[in-house]
Symmetry: C2
Subunit: 110 residues, 2 copies
DNA sequence: TCCTTATATCGATGATCGTCGATCTATTTG
DNA sequence: CAAATAGATCGACGATCATCGATATAAGGA
């Protein structure tokens, strides 16, 4: 899904009417923000030292099992909201801020 | 849910880390934006003449049944994203822009 | 008061989602 | 190569969600 080509800061949802296809793509993206674990993961990584975090720390911090955390990390990564980098046997993640900006700008009112 | 007291433009999700309670409230709000019909309803009403729209027109425009549209209007209204006003036997809706702004600001990166 | 119309609510059904134990894969280390 | 460890994938289960027909409610008009 190339979200940035669908909706930019110049044509936000609440200023220009959207059609069915655009609504479906945006809804899919906002769905990623509709779960507390995913919001906390984004918030945690964005505020981590160096803006990145190792997946190995997340199950304990989140209080969820490793498969559950891995599942949510995959969803965020597949959607382009997180970038994944393998270092040795550890996976490091950082927030793709441009993608978050696209979603924020979709809610512009002016 | 008093969302505006929980998260303002001064402490966005990606600048300050959020705890479990805040994440749950925000996730509940973003869930409303995670369905194409609800995004189209918001977009349609925000761009309607006078910024308001009668519910009577929505089932045909959306291609959904009257109960389905009523259900989504209730979700948006209960969450404060839409304001409902009864005029005679018709229900008119307008977008509560301040509430949308709260969600947008939660995604601020700077 | 009776009829019509707009909207909400109920109830049921199928679909999607979140979770985790078990297992598989890949990488490092001894 | 074998053991250990990080992470992904699988499979199943319960929970939540979207939808719509049927029906209830509420308001206006005859």
């Amino acid at each position: 899904m190339k979200l940035s080509t669908v909706r930019t800061c110049c044509e936000p949802v609440l200023v220009a009417p959207i059609d069915q296809a655009e609504a479906e793509e945006l809804a899919t993206a906002f769905k990623l923000l509709s779960h507390p674990i995913r919001l906390r993961i984004l918030s945690l990584i964005a505020n981590a030292p160096g803006g990145e975090m190792c997946a190995c720390d997340l199950p304990e911090v989140m209080g969820r099992s490793q498969p559950t955390v891995s599942h949510h990390l995959s969803l965020l990564t597949d959607a382009g909201l997180l970038a994944r980098e393998q270092r040795g046997r550890w996976a490091w993640f950082r927030v793709e801020r441009e993608r978050v900006t696209v979603l924020r700008d979709a809610l512009n009112l002016t």
